[in-house]
Symmetry: C2
Subunit: 225 residues, 2 copies
Amino acid sequence: MPPRARRLDPVTGTLSPTPRSTLGRLRERGATDRAALYDVLDHGLVCHLALVRDGAPVVLPTGYGRIGDTLYVHGSSGARWLREGAVPVCATVTHLDGIVYARSVFHFSMNYRSAVAHGTARLVTEEPERTAALRAIVEHLAPGSWDHARPPTRRELAATAVLALDLDEASVKIRTGPPSDDPEDISPEVWAGVVPLTTTFGTPEPDPHVPADAPTPPHVTARTL
Amino acid sequence: MPPRARRLDPVTGTLSPTPRSTLGRLRERGATDRAALYDVLDHGLVCHLALVRDGAPVVLPTGYGRIGDTLYVHGSSGARWLREGAVPVCATVTHLDGIVYARSVFHFSMNYRSAVAHGTARLVTEEPERTAALRAIVEHLAPGSWDHARPPTRRELAATAVLALDLDEASVKIRTGPPSDDPEDISPEVWAGVVPLTTTFGTPEPDPHVPADAPTPPHVTARTL
């Protein structure tokens, strides 16, 4: 890995992309703004976390939480790679907002927002960071739940590994709007446009053991994306 | 990388997981069935494609298509890693179906379906595979569009790199149903259950150059997930 320095400009908050966070192609879609990064991360539910195992990449979906400029993920402390910590990882959060129908197959595309963070994951072993990270992960997945549900026991905590990834090397890409067709392809005969995609929460489905007359608590019914 | 042999049982179609496609934890959630793999892939829109660059993982969202037991992705032929081909990659497709609210923070979870495919990507350079792959990618993203839109020119084809990933080392993980709480945590006072998540297509938004009275074609209006 190349040497890494802190890349967040402390004055403007602008992300200064490194070679690998500059995505190489289509730079005009890069939005190197920290508020945009937080926005993409905070409205996502799953990140795709990649690591290298035996020289090959592995990418798995997982929940996450954010505290300031740190992204936290957790998993079983029985998982070798989570126990190791200090491994290079990449975490990507993607929102798919629409399918872009163009006049030429070459210009078919997607409207999306994605955040990509690179860095060396750090195994979180000390309190109070460890509990704060677990709380952030649960609250990100299900806001209001940490105080509603039973806290973790010592045994459960021992079974859980927590990794931290500093968000100092990150980038955001956003595509919005209609297709980018070549002017000579535009014709009244050929339809083009965007079919938007929306993800929504449905009606909560109580567990079979919840009494039929038990109200669904406000932190669940109020859930929106 | 460890040596790889063909792992698809030709008789039953069952995926025979290798160590890295056996996901290590929670094996009971593994559904090693090829029909389930196709189902997860065919109903997804974006895969998260990971590769290794300078020893560190990089994971990016991208469209894809499937023909039989091959997954295709494409990108700019100006992208170094796409031109190189023959690189170890991992492609993951994830559907998030619900948030699982448990009685203990330890058992909060997600209902999801995910497919993970590992292998060495192959740069597709020969016809007719190359055009078939591009067609599969466009038709996966926007069914019915290949025959509706202008075909690619020689220049556009030259600007496009196509990679193939054999689906012979792949796994599917599925979680469904209510939370897996410990029996002693179940109480009529604490709500638990699932908040389902659904992704739907909205009303097509015509490009500004499409005449106001032009009908939206059936292959667009019929789009469902």
